[in-house]
């Protein structure tokens, strides 16, 4: 079955010769919550711009809801909602007027538009502030308004580029909750974000891009499984923690446990990587007891998407709380 988003061998080379996207292929099925992750400069925004018909591709093919991004761009624009990295609200207009304006750009009119705006204002909790100018809104409110404007025309597919970056945890949680709700109503969501826990919880599938290429794709569970090993963090009792005990502990682990794939030093003792780590815990405790090594703590954690990300891109994803995006937003009041 063809996906609602189909991308094949997509390439984008900018005028200055920069290859932003180097032949990526993926597809998203209808109703999916799809995460598109990657470090800065990986080609995420470029891909979104091509899919939302703002940017021309260089080669390859891309279609949205069966429409080609170039020959049928007008049809695509009617059924997609797009939220950019920058929050775009007109600060001289009220929240309601912002939404009416966006509705008119989507060629909606009259009572139908008014009703739809009222409905959305309720959904994003902006009823009380609806008739205040957006310039007085907080960052979180602006983002919610921006999200609401992308929904006016009841899009089938929502493209979101970093929708929660730069928001406080509460606003972030609120946005993710709306997105979950929207997805449950059947809207396909295509999202780029830096918040991996939320991706893990909400995205059904994801792709990781790096330097213009897709380096991994699958469900969060599949990707974490690929990492293959849980990490077991062993805390050694401080009185006995010296080089000698550590060496001794390492030897015990190496000799007795062939499932251990890696052992590294940590601040509190050692970190051990092994498949199905939790089953090893009792055995490790027993073995250390026999060898007279005193443990102060033991903790097992399964691989996170962060580990997956690290493995495929060699980078840890970093969330910058004050990004250039909202920095600009603070100073660039639009004038007309």
């Amino acid at each position: 079955m063809p996906g609602i988003i189909d991308v094949s061998q997509l390439v984008k080379t900018y005028g200055d010769g920069t290859k932003a996207v180097k032949g990526i292929s993926f597809n998203v099925s209808e109703g999916e919550f799809f995460g598109f992750l990657g470090p800065n400069g990986a080609g995420k925004s470029t891909t979104i711009k091509i899919l939302t018909t703002i940017l021309r591709k260089s080669s390859g093919s891309a279609s949205v809801a069966g429409f080609d991004v170039e020959s049928d761009s007008a049809k695509i624009r009617k059924i997609i909602g797009v939220q950019n990295q920058d929050t775009v609200v007109d600060e001289d207009l009220t929240g309601r007027e912002n939404m009416i304006l966006q509705g008119e750009m989507q060629q909606m009119h009259g009572q139908a538009l008014k009703d739809r705006v009222d409905e959305l204002l309720k959904i994003v909790d902006l009823v009380d502030a609806a008739d205040k100018r957006a310039g007085f809104y907080s960052g979180g409110m602006k983002k919610r308004l921006d999200l609401a404007t992308t929904l006016v025309h009841d899009p089938k597919i929502l493209f979101l580029d970093e929708p929660t970056t730069g928001l406080d945890p509460q606003s972030r949680a609120a946005i993710w909750a709306y997105l979950k709700q929207l997805n449950e109503q059947g809207i396909t969501i295509f999202i780029t974000t830096q918040y991996l826990e939320e991706v893990d919880r909400l995205c059904r599938r994801l792709a990781i891009v790096d330097l213009g290429e897709i380096v991994a794709q699958g469900t969060p569970a599949e990707l974490k499984q690929e990492i293959g090993a849980d990490s077991i963090s062993l805390g050694l009792e401080s009185t006995t923690m010296n080089g000698e005990t550590k060496e001794k502990a390492k030897q015990v682990l190496e000799n007795k446990f062939d499932r251990v794939s890696n052992i590294v030093n940590s601040d509190i003792g050692l970190t051990v990587y092994a498949k199905n780590g939790s089953f090893l815990v009792p055995e490790i405790v027993r073995a250390f007891d026999d060898a007279g090594i005193k443990l102060s703590s033991i903790a097992v954690s399964s691989p996170t998407l962060d580990d997956v990300f690290l493995k495929h891109t060699g980078k840890r994803i970093r969330v910058e709380e004050v990004t250039s995006a909202n920095y600009r937003g603070m100073f660039a009041r639009r004038r007309r």
Binding site: R56, Q85, M105, R328, G329, R334, R335
Partner: protein
């Protein structure tokens, strides 16, 4: 339009300069009138220049506005909607023209108690407003093109500041050609601003550009010459704008 009403501070400040020109300059240079000819009021003479100077600096705001639209992501957001591509550009240009018209009306209203009333009557008023709007359109093309090309409000402002004074002072906007040194007379004869000023001045005073004949009423050759020059500039600047806009949106 709604935005303009919502932002009265912007209207106020963009009107500030022409109003200062209108009130202070005309007082300061009131003796100039005698230089231009017997019984000529400098206020009446300079109103045409001031109206145009306002259109000129107002037109340069278009460029910075379009830069804002690009930088804030507003343009991108609009591009992802079914809005017609050219409507985005024309909406901008029309709203700019509307602003210039509103400002011109205010300036003419303020000039009325100072004794400025077009000799050509009400139709003259309408023609003045039309001329100014037409001029504003043509010049806003320059700032739009600059904005689209450089994507920097500072550059647009810088170039605007660089252009405004030489072009304005080396035109017939504030001083008649007879009061200029010879080389400046030559410059001002070719200065496109002079053409537009002469047309508006004719509509206000009913005189020929050199004020030698004040019984002529509509001086169609001056007016049509001005429209020709404005149309030429407009075609060039708006053509460039359209070309650059296409490049930005594709």
């Amino acid at each position: 339009m709604k935005k303009l009403v919502r932002n009265p501070i912007l209207i106020f400040f963009s009107l500030f300069q022409p109003v200062i020109f209108l009130v202070l300059f005309t007082q300061l240079f009131s003796k100039f009138g005698q230089l231009l000819g017997p019984g000529v009021s400098y206020t009446v003479f300079a109103t045409a220049g001031i109206v145009l100077q306002n259109a000129f600096s107002s037109a340069f705001q278009s460029g910075t506005a379009v830069v804002d639209d690009i930088k804030s992501g507003f343009l991108t957001k609009m591009l992802a909607t079914p809005v017609n591509r050219s409507a985005i550009l024309f909406g901008r240009i029309l709203s700019d023209a509307f602003r210039v018209v509103a400002q011109t009306v205010i300036i003419l209203a303020l000039a009325y108690p100072l004794g400025v009333f077009p000799e050509t009557g009400f139709l003259g008023y309408l023609l003045i407003i039309f001329t100014v709007a037409f001029f504003g359109l043509a010049w806003s093309g320059i700032s739009l093109a600059l904005g689209l090309r450089t994507k920097s409000a500072e550059t647009v402002f810088g170039i605007a500041g660089f252009l405004t004074f030489p072009l304005l002072f080396m035109s017939t906007a504030l001083v008649g050609q007879t009061a200029m040194p010879a080389w400046m007379q030559t410059v001002s004869s070719y200065n496109p601003i002079s053409f537009a000023v002469n047309a508006i001045r004719n509509l206000i005073t009913g005189c020929t550009p050199d004020l030698s004949n004040c019984a002529i009423g509509y001086d169609w050759s001056t007016i049509l010459q001005a429209y020709g020059v404005i149309a030429l500039i407009g075609a060039l600047t708006l053509g460039a704008t359209l070309y650059l806009f296409r490049k930005v949106v594709s």
